[in-house]
Subunit: 345 residues, 2 copies
DNA sequence: GTGAAAGCGCTAACAT
DNA sequence: ATGTTAGCGCTTTCAC
């Protein structure tokens, strides 16, 4: 059989069922006015012909593709794998298809957006990738809502949902302060990401408020990955005259994991005995035995729900919500990498 | 602006450029016969109107959507995240869109296939998920090629690409044998997956050939995940009268990682000093400092290329290749979890 | 409740 | 090389 075997259409089904083609269409459209009896006749005929409605054709008339685009940067961070999975699950539950685009960390997602426009998707979700404001308006002009996940673009009218990264950074600073740390190292992520910057800012502000001197806080770049943080840590501690910090903040869990392994396995520094450590995200990987990371939990499910809510997939005629910046609080999770101060659970 | 703002079509562009609508279509179709001058006029007009061709409409006529469906099971295994990434990258390079479906481990992917059929995808790739033969033929009947990645269905005419899991299992058995291990524990994965079964079979066959007694080989189930293998290991070693094996085969790296952490962190058993260990896949996570797993590398890129080759995305008229079973050899990677026998690299 | 007919935005002959 | 025309498979008025 060649591939160009002619597909069976609603006309074929109509013929077999002895009804009009519109009846077939109605039989497959929930809530359309059709007698249950005819519906059954049609369904039976469809079943016998292995008929499946052509969504492409229906999208053309309805102007709704039922497809949502998910643009992903940095899959090297498991957090975004979990995010992807959460979106995929939820969207599938609602009968939506997910079109995936992976863009290299730091790269523009404009190409992806262009593709997305061609496919008339019903919405686009963008995680950890860059976006030009021109693309935002191209989407909006066409009535395609776009929401940024854990990212925001100041001055853009794209809506977004994010963890309150600044507040999360403060939470961690407080934990360290309570544990008595006096000098700090921060391993930062992608410098183009607001996520990393916000966490660092909140963290430092709170530290300074807590009486820590600016000169007792150092930053190095960990490139948002395990490997990046691992080697950055070794490099840092191998310098001839470093003074060893008392605490390290890995701006996300995967980097904190890299830091921890470098410390314990390569540098002979024990966590938290010799040095305290914290991450951010609360990925399942960080909960595992070797790490048991103290961290801030990003409430993925809630963030995913909020994102979907802003998309208003069910109310396509509703005007696009612009400029929303939904900040959701993270929660401090005490585990083993910061000694719990007395009186704390 | 409401969402129903009427989209700009090729007619609008044609009007502005002062040409016919077909000219616009041609301007956007590489290789079609159109004067460079008119092409430029059209492109300019399109640019001014922010026009983007509607792929949905073109799919309707061409019967090619340029979409490939990727059905993913078990994202808890990082191996499949890397696989997804590899497919996504390669498909994007070739201007194809990727429609993702995630199905729960062990669940049928029939629902996903049904969706796929609606969207007239150009091909479907199925990794670590179940597939009924009925769905295979539904795809084939419609001219949609489907290829199984690291999975095969005996007696089905679906084509597939997989690592030679049996041979890989043998490789690992040989490594253990060379290192002198006499008793074995196998931590298996999803029992419905041929992948796990094949590896175990090759492993055991070679062991028996090597003179190991059947009674010196035990199997426990690790559920294809870190957590599953971690707790299975603890459970096994905590039984009142276990005899401790000399070697453990984690049927994939993520399980081997779970086994290793359980051993060293919970049970006080050192690897490879007290006990040898091996995994399978060679995921980047297993190369990290805490693990440095001896394993068999699955050549992802090669497997991805073969898979795409079988799909023949560029030659839609070509008959679907059925029943292909491409087995690609894995390579043994010596690292730290099996002591390297004398004379070996 | 049902059928006829007019599109949706594009591509692909077919003319010119 | 360019324009005209007829669909692709469906949804959606509009009559009945």
């Amino acid at each position: 059989m060649t591939r160009s075997s002619t597909r069976t259409t609603s006309f074929d089904v109509a013929a077999l069922a002895g009804v009009s083609q519109s009846a077939v269409s109605r039989a497959f459209t929930p809530g359309s006015s059709i007698a249950e009896e005819t519906r059954q006749k049609v369904l039976e005929a469809a079943r016998r012909l292995n008929y499946v409605p052509n969504s492409i054709a229906s999208s053309l008339t309805t102007k709704r593709s039922n497809i949502v685009a998910l643009i992903l940067g940095n899959l090297a961070n498991p957090f975004y794998v979990h995010v992807m999975h959460a979106f995929s699950r939820k969207l599938q539950e609602h009968g939506r298809q997910v079109l995936i685009f992976t863009v290299d960390a730091g790269a523009e997602s404009d190409d992806a957006i262009l593709q997305v426009l061609k496919y008339q998707v019903d919405g686009v979700i963008l995680t950890s990738a860059q976006l030009s404001t021109r693309m935002t308006s191209m989407c909006h002009d066409r009535g395609i809502p776009i929401v940024l996940f854990n990212r925001y673009i100041p001055g853009s009218d794209a809506s977004g949902v994010r963890c309150d990264n600044t507040a999360g950074g403060r939470l961690l600073a407080e934990a360290f302060l309570a544990a008595g740390a006096k000098s700090y190292l921060i391993v930062t992520g992608d410098p183009t990401a607001t996520t990393s910057g916000d966490r660092v800012r909140g963290f430092m502000d709170r530290l300074i408020e807590g009486g820590i001197k600016r000169t007792d806080i150092t930053q190095i770049e960990g490139y948002s990955s395990y490997e990046g943080a691992f080697s950055a840590t070794i490099r840092y501690f191998s310098a001839p005259d470093v003074k060893r910090p008392e605490a390290i903040f890995g701006v996300n869990d995967i980097m904190a994991m890299g830091v921890m392994d470098a410390l314990q396995l390569r540098l002979g520094i024990r966590v938290p005995k010799d040095l305290m450590l914290a991450g951010f995200d609360d990925i399942p990987e960080g909960r595992r035995a070797p790490y048991h990371l103290t961290t801030v939990r990003q409430p993925i499910d809630q963030m995913v729900n909020e994102t979907l809510a802003i998309l208003h997939l069910d109310e396509p005629t509703r005007p696009i919500e612009r400029g929303i910046d939904r900040r959701i609080a993270g929660r401090l999770i005490w585990r083993s990498t910061i000694p719990v101060p007395q009186g704390n659970g």
